[in-house]
Symmetry: C2
Subunit: 217 residues, 2 copies
DNA sequence: GTCTATAGATTGATAGAC
DNA sequence: GTCTATCAATCTATAGAC
């Protein structure tokens, strides 16, 4: 959008697509609905992106590239600090370095309120083409985290670390999905969420406590 | 299917639909493909079930009704045993009573090899109509588990127990999804899975250890 | 119960004027 | 870059013969 304060068509389409893909899923969201809500012409998606799938890839890349930079820096900072102090990195600081920015990204980066939900659903997406677009962009960072976690837990074998990390990823993505939906809330519970919303600080600490306990078990 | 050893059309459609819904998702699976693979006519789905959505509901009900009976009995057994021994139920035995049959159901009930994947995806389904069909059938049991967990953890407030249970459900459903897919496996890792498959016994124990540690934290 | 045939709607994509 | 118009494919669902 450059210096203008009005976003151009391409940017508006990305914003609307991100929100609709997050809340209704890729296959349930038609290009007609995206372009209509973005105030653009139906043909604009194919002009600017080439296809619906290419649009999804751009939606991911726009946020994942800066987010991955943040997470990589934090992970490497934990690794380097441990090295300088001549000790192993601890699982809790590694998990925090990865998970905290993942969940908080919606607050750090303005306009990405719905990206959390989108990412939370990405791994559960049934269509492998769609799922692979996401996996391709997340895999290098996931591998780094896995590698560092192994060095942090030298007494555990690869399989055990791998599965515990999967359990932690399951908890994390489930939380990310829930932040956008509430059908799972038991009747009569947590009505305070309705009024004040979820306290993200407390939620992140609860989540980190949970996965750290299971990881260090 | 009664006494015949050949399943009737209705049953064959349910089997194929379960598998295709699990691996490709509800919206990505057409009635044409289901009926073709089931060796039935396209119109058979609407004759036997009324609609595609009603078919999905039958796919869920066929397995969830017996599975829920098992889980309820196990949960109530834990509760009653604790009451007889005049103590509180423990979180680990409650989680085991719920999670173990959930994951092992594919082995207990012949023909339900793909139901695990389907359930693992159900909560992440973007379409709320589809998601609600599942939630409606699982909610009573989830509420029972939540209630018993609260009594097992009297020092924790409702919100904390609620979120920890959500974290555990996230881990569990993520595992159920992964049992059918392997794109997330880091390159070069866990090749033994390819040959021997995942050892379900070890996986279940790892998962229960992980979520119990986080729950009792 | 099973079949053919088709209605009726929606989709992603594109050609071509401006 | 944006628009209209439309194509070609797909889908669920149903009517009606057998």
């Amino acid at each position: 959008m450059g210096l203008s304060n009005v976003k151009d068509t391409r940017e508006r389409i990305l914003d609307v697509a991100e929100r609709l893909f997050a809340f209704h899923g890729f296959h349930y969201t038609s290009l007609r609905r995206i372009t209509t809500e973005a105030g653009a012409n139906l043909a604009a998606v194919n002009y600017h992106f080439g296809s619906k799938e290419a649009l999804l890839e751009e939606v991911f890349k726009r946020r994942l590239i800066p987010l991955n930079t943040i997470r990589r820096e934090k992970l490497e900072a934990v690794r380097d600090r441990a090295a300088k102090e001549e000790r192993l990195p601890r699982p809790d600081e590694l998990l925090r370095a990865f998970i905290e920015p993942t969940i908080r990204f919606c607050c750090l980066e303005p306009g990405s309120e719905h990206f959390s939900t989108l990412v939370g659903r990405a791994l559960a997406e049934p269509d492998s083409t769609v799922r692979n677009i996401f996996i391709q962009h997340i895999m290098p960072l996931f591998s780094l985290l896995f590698e560092l976690l192994q060095s942090a837990l030298p007494d555990l074998d690869r399989n055990t670390v791998f599965w515990r990390l999967q359990f932690a990823m399951g908890s994390t993505t489930h939380v990310m999905r829930m932040l956008g939906k509430r059908e799972l809330l038991p009747p009569g519970l947590v009505r305070e969420m309705e009024s004040g919303g979820v306290d993200l600080d407390i939620l992140v600490e609860n989540l980190l406590g949970f996965v750290t306990a299971g990881m260090e078990l």
